[in-house]
Amino acid sequence: MKDPVIYTQLDRIEGPLIAMLLELSDIGYGEAVQLVDKQGRTRNGRVVLMDGEKVTIEVFQGTAGLAKENMRTRFLGRPITLNLDPSIIGRRLSGMGEPIDGGPPLAGSGRDINGSVINPTARAYPQEFVQTGISSIDLMNTLVRGQKLPIFSSSGLPHDQLAIQIAQQARIRPDLSGHTQDLNDSSKELVVVFAAIGVKHDVAVRFAEEISGRTVSFLNLADDPVMERLLTPRAALTAAEYLAFELGLHVLVILTDMTVYGEALREVASARGDVPSRKGYPGYLYSDLAALFERAGQIKGKKGSITQLPILTMPNDDITHPIPDLTGYITEGQIVLSRDLHRQGIYPPIELLPSLSRLMGDSVGEGYTRNDHLPLMEQLYAAYARRDEVRMMSRIMGEDDLSEIDKCYLKFGKQFEQHFIAQGAGENRSIEQSLAIGWQCLSRLPVREMTRLSKEELAKHQDIWQTSSIGVTD
């Protein structure tokens, strides 16, 4: 083994990066590094560029206070790792995975936090319906076990509350799908892996208090080192993979706030002089985010699963900003929160039109939820989209000049938002309840508008229209 400690002089210090000239050829690309400065303070880093004798290191705790002289550097001969064994459950760790709960150091074997790629042939296609108890998700944008479904939010919106509610209520309904292999297993609660990436202290406290049960937390708070944020989701996902694929548990990973993560990445990229693409973010932002989000899923022959619920705040409420945009291109849908609904006092303020669950098509309907699920969802979407058009028109010319049918759409929209989308922060609706409310809302519209529903489905729910106050039928 090489002598791991070397004393050296730094060649450059620039932003989060330091460069040194070394004769040593024994350093691996991506290797973990420990640096001790003159004051004896330890920092961590990793090798990001090697050019001849020059080694460039990214320092996670920043370079403030570092001087060129007298740096004690240790190359660890391995990538950055996290030690894992079953005692990880219940632990509270820093953004780098070091205990901050006063407990003992982590035990178990170390695992490279960068993970490896799941072979697409080894994946099991996610198809298990997860009931979150929230109508706008369960009926309209179904969450599936093993999915990565982010919440696109904005500052000041109740995304934390929504994520907590999902974590508390999510469960599998083996009684619906005759598909679940082992009923006992699925009734067990989820293990939550929570990664705070540059969020405020009170947010972290709130998650800690409200998510009961088995949790592992990785906390990089707003005043913690910026570069460490690059490690936090990686450490969290490494723990999740261990819990899911080695211990066979169903894991829900909450990553918040991915926008802050992206900003940290931009900071290193610009220090490195990488060619920027949009808004100064590096061209590899897509691949970098994908390396995190693709760590969700299920593997054939393994019992556990990783479901990801990343949260991001859209700068300026702009969904085309690179972070939400690239996230949307990688994840399997998105739940978008709306400032407008929030102002109207509607909770959860889920804006349905831009929201999407891509795995829903294959995971609802007969054998999964109920056979009217998909057509009802499509009909509600079509009607709600039409309501938006009508509303735009009415804003220009006033409601009075609208046709009868257009007025019906406005009424439908109101009812739908107040009774279907809106629900209590503790209200846990079964999928059957959500379906029933969905049908009820449709009855505000004339039957002949129901072009997405088959005659048979309509016949089954005829009575709703008969008792409907609206009375417009053919």
């Binding site: 090697m50 790629v117 072979n119 042939t121």
Partner: protein, 570 residues
């Protein structure tokens, strides 16, 4: 003395002794021999893009030349197989290293053990030109694989095995060239991915690739041997459309490239295709499919290569006289891989950080599709359909703009339609196809007034679009009765004809007959309504137009004969 690594920056590595290497050469990087390709040579250094993660490589590790470029193996065993971007079979990798892909894994692209039943179709003594057919192997129930003399090789056949079972490593024939050299021929051949395979001559694409999607086949068709691109923001339906085409289009062979997209989407193909039946052949869809999966989290250099691996495989099947359709989802991710490598080489960026050669490379890729007469005189084609993922859904970005210049069908996916769950979200006014005029004749055989109906349908959509502008300002009150009828017609066309759900059992695939007859019926009824003296609302009821919307989901393609007499169900 071999070359040594001098620099490591992400997927790009440099080594000394640049005189040892050639541009485009395949090299083995480091002690664990990662696959790389030489992409730049300077006086001192050779720069290499590495097709695997470079973590843990060290300065001073060896780089070895191989003397050949990046090649693919072409022969029986391609179909039903899923590869990564540099043609490593993923199933074999899984057997070797488990559920996660290990670095430095190596495996033959084509199975060497398997025995194939070869039926020769030549006689010893025959004088064979390049690309001639030596015989056949029934590779899957769907495809009878023709074994070809490799391009660039010709001569007299001096040895040919008899009919029987052979492995890929068996010499099945020997060819003596004019110069007297002898060449062994096998059931498979190799070809460098970045070079297009030669053809006899190029022909004009003049037959439709029937996709079973009405908005494509009827409004914006693509010809066999044609090119199409599909730009759209996230969630607008690029992948679902690509999957639909891969499932239902009437090509003989499908090459599906998942280029920098989701792992689960490839798993979806792997789970669906073995269970779906090709309406044309009755065989399982997987039997005509080759898959290439270099997902978003796999190394970017291999993502860059995946497109070339795919198109080379497509050309090879084309050379057997087959119609091949290639789907690349998404070409934007390929362009981004180019950008990343270019950035690591510190090249001068052009637009948005993309290298200046982006348009050239894009053109080269699409130019490899086409309808051709093969070297052996048969007719084959490669149809290329690329998805484009513009950042922020903004179509004025470089990849969309350059792609648009080199393709002839352009299917624009619209966010608003997708948000309203109106699928396929192909915008009926912004999209176009330069093949439409040519392919009209083909459709006229199914319905004599097809061309007229289609043109009128598009005209109605355009007129209605203008009227929507008036409605937005003045409400429907601002319209004349005739204009209201046009707006009504638009709704029937969109909901009754253009809309087609990938999840509707009876409508996810619409045969050409179903499409032609639906078009005929709908246009007939709309014309009756437009010509009728009664006011709009009444006329809509009189001709049961709303009922027409349900027709598509009520009658499957096998019930097309009932379409013209359809009375609105139940």
């Amino acid at each position: 003395m071999s070359a040594k690594i001098t620099r490591i920056s992400g997927p790009v590595v440099a080594c000394d002794r640049s005189e040892l290497f050639a541009m485009g050469e395949r090299v083995a990087v480091g002690k664990i021999s990662l696959v790389g390709e030489v992409i730049r040579i300077t006086t001192e250094f050779a720069f290499i893009q590495v097709y695997e993660d470079t973590m843990e490589l060290k300065i001073g590790e060896p780089v070895a030349a191989t003397g050949s470029s990046i090649m693919v193996e072409l022969g029986p065993g391609l179909l039903t197989t899923i590869y990564d971007g540099i043609q490593r079979p993923l199933i074999t990798l899984q057997q070797q290293s488990g559920d996660f892909i290990a670095r430095g894994a190596a495996a033959d692209a084509l199975n060497r053990e398997r025995i194939w039943q070869f039926i020769p179709s030549q006689c010893v003594g025959a004088s064979l030109s390049a690309g001639s057919i030596l015989g056949t192997v029934q590779e899957t129930a769907a495809i009878n694989h023709k074994i070809l003399v490799p391009p660039l090789l010709s001569g007299r056949l001096i040895y040919l095995v008899e009919e029987g079972g052979y492995q890929l490593s068996d010499v099945i024939a020997k060819l003596k060239t004019d110069k007297g050299e002898e060449h062994n021929l096998y059931l498979y051949q190799r070809w460098p991915v970045r070079t297009k395979r030669p053809v006899g001559k190029r022909l004009t694409p003049d037959l439709p690739l029937v996709t079973g999607q009405r908005i494509i086949d009827t409004l914006f068709p693509i010809a066999k041997g044609g090119t199409a691109a599909m730009p759209g923001g996230f969630g607008t339906g690029k992948t679902v459309t690509q999957h639909n085409l891969a499932k239902w289009c009437d090509a003989d062979v499908i090459v599906y490239i998942g280029c920098g997209e989701r792992g689960n989407e490839m798993t979806g193909v792997l789970t669906d295709f073995p269970n779906l039946i090709d309406p044309a052949t009755g065989c399982r869809l997987i039997e005509r499919t080759v898959m290439i999966a270099n997902t978003s989290n796999m190394p970017v250099a291999a993502r860059e290569a995946s497109i070339y691996t795919g198109i080379t495989v497509a050309e090879y099947f084309r050379d057997q006289g087959l119609d091949v359709a290639l789907m690349a989802d998404s070409t934007s991710r390929w362009a981004e891989a180019l950008r990343e490598i270019s950035g690591r080489l510190e090249e001068m960026p052009a637009e948005d950080g993309f290298p200046a050669y982006l348009p050239t490379r894009t053109a080269e890729f699409y130019e490899r599709s086409g309808k051709v007469q093969t070297l052996s005189g048969e007719v084959g084609s490669v149809t290329s359909i690329g998805a484009v993922s513009p950042p922020g859904g903004d179509f004025s970005e470089p990849v969309t703009l350059h792609t648009q210049r080199f393709v002839k069908a352009f299917w624009v996916l619209d966010k608003m339609l997708a948000n309203a769950r109106f699928f396929p979200a192909i915008h009926p006014l912004d999209s176009y196809s330069e093949y439409a005029a040519e392919l009209g004749q083909w459709w006229s055989k199914l319905s004599p007034q097809w061309q007229q109906d289609r043109d009128q349908l598009l005209r109605l959509l355009m007129e209605a679009d203008k009227l929507q502008g008036i409605i937005r300002i003045m409400g429907e009150e601002g319209l004349s009765d005739h204009q209201r009828k046009i707006v009504m017609a638009e709704r029937i066309i969109k909901e009754g004809f253009l809309q087609q759900s990938a999840f509707s059992p009876k409508d996810r695939y619409a045969s050409p007959e179903k499409q032609a007859l639906m078009l005929q019926l709908i246009m007939r009824r709309l014309n009756q309504m437009l010509d009728d003296p009664s006011p709009a609302a009444e006329a809509v009821k009189k001709f049961a137009l709303i009922e027409l919307i349900r027709l598509k989901d009520d009658l499957g393609s096998d019930e097309s004969d009932k379409i013209l007499s359809w009375q609105g169900g139940s």
